[in-house]
């Protein structure tokens, strides 16, 4: 009996192991995502179709841990690949702090060569863990100094402005909040929305934290927990404001401009209010890019960063997602935006933004 049972087991175990081993070595077609967010003429995938025998992590590919909008980074990757003899670029997509913490957890073994975020706090987290290689000076000099940290460990590649999007039939100019701080007032209870689980909003809070200190931030967040309508995602916040579910919401500018440039279906009843006046609500958040010290493709990675900050790379920012390019370029698409120089943003050193303190505070007040 015993031996027979053993036979059954051994046969099946061997089969199973063979199958498992086969899986381990098989591969997946690397889905080279075309942008999905442009319905009228969705760009097709770049380059040749990946072969089936490609490893999930192609050893020759430049691996980008990407927390920026997928279609922006994909557009960068496609153009870079085209200019560099079809070099493969692979994206792993996630959100700022998720990927920053992931890189820290991966440490010296991180598969990432380049890290790109939508906001600065994630970049600082990786920098403080000592995982960035210095950016080539020729790259940093392509961007005005105030948009990169003084340490030179990463470089600013784009910027986004905090805005208050409001429903024009619900609020008049006079009723708009003068400052982000005003939204903590009980008068705003149930009338404004935000997406606190997103890296974007957490970056705004990190600026508030830097400008006003921990106590004031905690007070404001507590009010928000009690009074604000919570949504998941900036687009969803704007949609809710447009539908009149709430009077206004705190988002970044380009969601609105992007919808206006397309169908206007989620923003036709809304307008933007820029806080200005160096208010925390006028915070301009810098997207960063850095090269991982653990990368074995540093040269290619540095080349990629140089491309991002070049005229071509910055034009892609302007035309693709309507974020602010940082290099001095002129772009037709960007003319619709309120100029970056006129936003009266508060002066915040991107390197000073602290994500850990912010997520801890948000967890403490129960927003996370």
């Amino acid at each position: 009996m015993f031996t027979k049972r053993h036979l059954v087991l051994v046969t099946s175990s061997i089969t199973a192991l063979v199958v498992l081993a086969a899986c381990g070595s098989t591969s997946t077609p690397a889905a080279q995502g075309g942008s999905g967010s442009n319905t009228s003429n969705a760009p097709t995938a770049s380059g040749a179709a990946p072969t089936d025998e490609e490893q999930p992590l192609d050893p020759s590919a430049l691996v980008i841990y990407n927390a920026q909008h997928e279609n922006l980074t994909q557009a960068w990757a496609d153009e870079f690949s085209k200019e560099n003899g079809g070099v493969k670029v692979q994206l792993r997509n996630g959100s700022d702090l998720e990927m920053a913490n992931q890189i820290v957890a991966e440490g010296a073994d991180s598969p990432a060569d380049v890290f790109i975020t939508e906001n600065s706090p994630g970049m600082n987290l990786v920098e403080q863990a000592g995982l960035f290689a210095p950016v080539d000076p020729g790259t940093t000099s392509q961007i005005p100094a105030q948009y990169s940290p003084s340490t030179g460990k990463w470089v600013g590649v784009a910027a986004r402005s905090t805005v208050f999007v409001y429903n024009t039939s619900k609020l008049t100019q006079a009723q708009l909040p003068k400052s982000l701080i005003d939204l903590a007032d009980p008068a705003w209870k149930g009338r404004w929305a935000a997406s606190p689980s997103g890296a974007d909003f957490q970056a705004i809070i990190s600026a508030l934290y830097e400008l006003k200190g921990a106590d004031a931030t905690k007070t404001w967040l507590t009010a928000m927990k009690n009074d604000a309508a919570i949504y998941k995602g900036n687009s969803t916040v704007m949609k809710a404001v447009n539908a009149g579910e709430v009077d206004g919401g705190v988002i970044y500018h380009y969601y609105w401009y992007g919808d206006q440039a397309k169908t206007k279906e989620n923003s036709s009843n809304t307008a933007l209010h820029f806080f200005g006046n160096q208010d925390p609500g006028a915070f301009v958040s810098v997207s960063g890019a850095g090269v991982l010290a653990s990368s074995d493709k540093k040269e290619l990675a540095q080349k990629f960063l140089k491309f991002l900050t070049s005229k071509k790379g910055q034009e892609i920012v302007a035309n693709n997602v309507l974020e602010y390019p940082l290099a001095d370029i002129t772009s037709e698409t960007n003319k619709a935006l309120k100029p970056l120089s006129s936003l009266e943003a508060p002066v915040v050193d991107p390197a000073s933004l602290n994500s850990v303190a912010v997520t801890d505070l948000m967890t403490e007040v129960g927003l996370l």
């Binding site: 049972r5 381990g24 319905t39 999930p56 792993r92 998720e98 129960g366 996370l368």
Partner: protein
């Protein structure tokens, strides 16, 4: 034995992870992160949603099953498949279908509605099956003793339906606790969404782990409850003798009955499907980009590999459980069942944490993703294979051995052919589950690995309903044939 041990060991990963993260956090932090108002909120949200959905599914599933199986309602042959078809639409596609057309659906009521429409077939299927196989002699006896039809139903039929009802109902509960994708569009905070938000804000962090512990506790309550209740089930002697029964004549209730069935089918099928069709029409051919097709290819491939792997591993464990009932096989089965009832999010969190810190070589590989699928879907596969094996007579194997055939010859020529339907069912079930799996694929997949589900999820996240539509259409397209294959093969396996 070794294999059974291996399966049990791997199944212990999520449980071990819970213990490990508790120790790592230390009592102070653990207490601060578990006993906080936010957790109370989530507990209320999740608890209410789970209980309401379980009740609504029980009501809907039982009502529909009675109408279709016990009355002369028009079109009985069509209603059956139509009421099962919602299983082919993942809940996060159902929610997309509703919300993209009626944006005001959200919160507790909206989530209950959507999840009920998505999961009531889990109750309908086993109950309808039970109604078909119940020996009507009992009820006829009761009727002949002068009981009314309602009373005889309550005191005779309902107790016989109890195992099917309870089983389906608890399965709904486990699904609701594990649901994640649907809540993105429904603006409802549950443990799964909160854990994912913590993951997005701080990757594998203590705060997220502590939330996962509470969620695991909720799941354990359901699983243990199920175990205790299942021990009280009435054993059936023989299969009874199902016969064609005289259906209840609806008479003037025909119109309301038809209206009720139509409402359910419209809500669970017509709305999501027509909504997907609407967005597809709006996008035109431009949305069928090459990323759609490469995601489709990746999905089919990983689905097939996982189906093969899980089935091959489930067979010996099931074989032992049926043919050599013992302490070890029973324990293995229990442990893997326990792991299978854990939300995919918890299992993924455990595997991310374990591989990033201690098992770097398999971190972010397909292997790890397949291990997650194994943990998640092995119990389902075992249930199907066991059912298949239980129906194949052990005497035939004994006869083969008595005639001097070696064990593996017996296995190959007698056991496997007899168990084939159960094995095929198991493989189809796993394939179906993997093609629509979201969380594990999102968190564990290798870089550049995109499936239909993960692409769909990121597009709906930026409310790009048009670009998301082809992914939804393909997911449904893959699921429908498999679901109906399953239905034809076995009308009993799916429910449990």
């Amino acid at each position: 034995m070794s294999l059974a041990g291996l399966v049990a060991l791997v199944s212990l990963v999520p449980i071990g992870f819970v213990v490990w993260s508790l120790i790592q956090a230390g009592p102070e932090r653990a207490r601060a992160l578990i006993f906080r108002p936010r957790v109370g909120e989530l507990l209320l949200n999740t608890g209410f949603l789970t209980i309401l959905t379980m009740l609504a599914c029980t009501f809907l599933g039982l009502g529909c099953a009675l109408l279709v199986e016990r009355t002369n309602v028009v079109g009985r042959r069509i209603w059956g498949p139509l009421l099962v078809a919602p299983l082919a639409i993942p809940a996060f596609v159902t929610s997309y279908g509703w919300v993209s057309v009626v944006p005001s659906i959200d919160g507790l009521s909206g989530s209950t509605l959507i999840l009920t429409l998505a999961y009531f077939p889990l109750v309908y299927l086993p109950v309808a099956g039970a109604l078909r196989t119940i020996d009507p002699a009992w009820r006829e006896q009761a009727r002949s003793l002068g009981m009314g039809s309602i009373r005889s139903f309550v005191s005779v039929t309902l107790p016989q339906l109890r195992p099917a009802l309870l089983g389906g109902c608890l399965l709904v509960g486990i699904h609701v606790l594990a649901e994640f994708g649907a809540f993105q569009t429904l603006r409802f905070s549950t443990f799964t969404t909160a854990i994912y938000e913590q993951f997005q804000s701080s990757f594998a962090s203590t705060a997220g782990n502590m939330l996962a512990i509470v969620l695991v506790g909720c799941c354990l309550i359901l699983v243990v409850g199920e175990y205790l209740l299942s021990r009280r089930r009435t054993a059936r002697v023989g299969a009874g003798s199902p016969r064609v029964q005289e259906p209840i004549r609806l008479g003037r209730w025909m119109a309301p009955a038809l209206l009720a069935l139509s409402t359910v089918v419209i809500g669970a099928l017509v709305v999501p499907l027509s909504s997907v069709a609407y967005w597809l029409g709006l996008g035109g051919p431009a949305v069928w980009t090459s990323s759609v097709w490469s995601a489709a290819a990746a999905t089919l491939k990983i689905g097939a590999i996982a189906a093969l792997m899980v089935t091959v591993l489930a067979f010996p464990a099931s074989y032992l459980a049926v043919r050599r009932r013992g302490v070890v096989s029973a324990t293995t089965e229990r442990i893997s069942y326990l792991a299978g009832s854990m939300p995919s999010l918890v299992i993924s969190l455990a595997l991310v944490t374990v591989t990033v810190h201690y098992l770097k070589p398999i971190y972010q590989t397909q292997f790890t993703l397949l291990v997650a699928y194994l943990l998640l879907f092995l119990p389902r596969a075992m249930v199907s294979i066991r059912a298949g094996l239980a129906q194949s007579r052990v005497e035939l194997e004994e006869a083969s051995r008595a005639l001097g055939k070696a064990s593996f010859v017996t296995l190959w020529r007698v056991t496997l052919p007899l168990a084939a339907p159960g094995i095929a069912t198991a493989a189809s079930l796993v394939f179906l589950a993997v093609t629509t799996e979201l969380t594990a694929t999102l968190m564990l997949g290798p870089t550049g690995f995109r499936t239909l589900a993960t692409r769909f999820w990121s597009l709906t996240g930026s409310i790009d309903y048009v670009a998301a539509a082809p992914y939804a259409a393909l997911m449904i397209g893959v699921s429908v044939p498999v679901t109906f294959l399953l239905l034809q093969q076995s009308r009993r396996v799916l429910g449990r």
